[in-house]
Point group: C2
Chain length 188, copies 2
Amino acid sequence: MSKLIAYISSLEVLTENEAAQISVSFTASSLKAGDCFLREGQACKQVAFVEKGLLMYSKITEKGQEVVCDFAKEGDWVTQYQSFIAQSKSPLSIKAIEPCLLQVISFNGLMELYANVPTFERVARRLIDQVFINMVKRSGDLQMLKAEERYAKFRTEQPDILQRAPQYLVASFLGVAPQSLSRIRKNS
Amino acid sequence: MSKLIAYISSLEVLTENEAAQISVSFTASSLKAGDCFLREGQACKQVAFVEKGLLMYSKITEKGQEVVCDFAKEGDWVTQYQSFIAQSKSPLSIKAIEPCLLQVISFNGLMELYANVPTFERVARRLIDQVFINMVKRSGDLQMLKAEERYAKFRTEQPDILQRAPQYLVASFLGVAPQSLSRIRKNS
């Protein structure tokens, strides 16, 4: 059983036929480290399930600096959902930090899958709610917490990403200078 | 048949049993003009289907001015979905402009309804996608269009609200001074 089907089966019981229909609706796609899944300013054409690897969401600030907004790894979904659903310009890029293996579906593919496998549409409802929760969580964390608290939270919630991602990207995500991150790490 | 059931039936075929389960999950609630459905800064506890009346979404700017972000009327759903789903503070208020009749459901009520009526969860997936599309549309319109273009678009898309809402609220929604709106209306 693929990781994608295992993941969906953990949320809803799938018949063999449903699992088969879901499997054929997705296409395997690989990215090298540094490759873009989505470029800022383009419409997001796809949703992907990450089978392997690490990616980051980033955007360019008004000062031209690239800021990391989030990470995604095995078992996560990647897309800029607003851009995907409205076919509007994405305010973010999504890039591979490690070589990645993705299972990808297009907008039309997804709409067809919803029509053919109602169970998948129910799973999607829950995943889409999670997009909203993440939006709220993300904007809240950066506003409300101090750098040390952000680091502590990140270390608790995503210890593996702290190991896997280059430190300057972790610093960018936490909104601190790389040297401040070194100091915080030593002191905590 | 209630307006709520008629609306949902227009999206998905419902059995009598499903329609009955949906009906009992919602509670009728009325608002007087000026009443709040949701106050800025509070967590949104409910989603409502508007059977009758007109409401507005508004927020207070840093200068303390109330700005209209959107309107909702018969056949629309009202909620601040991010706040509802994450139980976080709402950045917006939702207020009745006219006396309103709503069909209201709580968070727990909605989760139960999803579990009992899978068809409703599928309908919800489509409605939630619409929340994203509206977010994109709203932010895009205000940034990209001139005042005259915003007015023309609003008049085409929502001619009834142009008649029903007080002019100072329409002006606020379009991001123009009330006297500018009068001028634009005369010239168009």
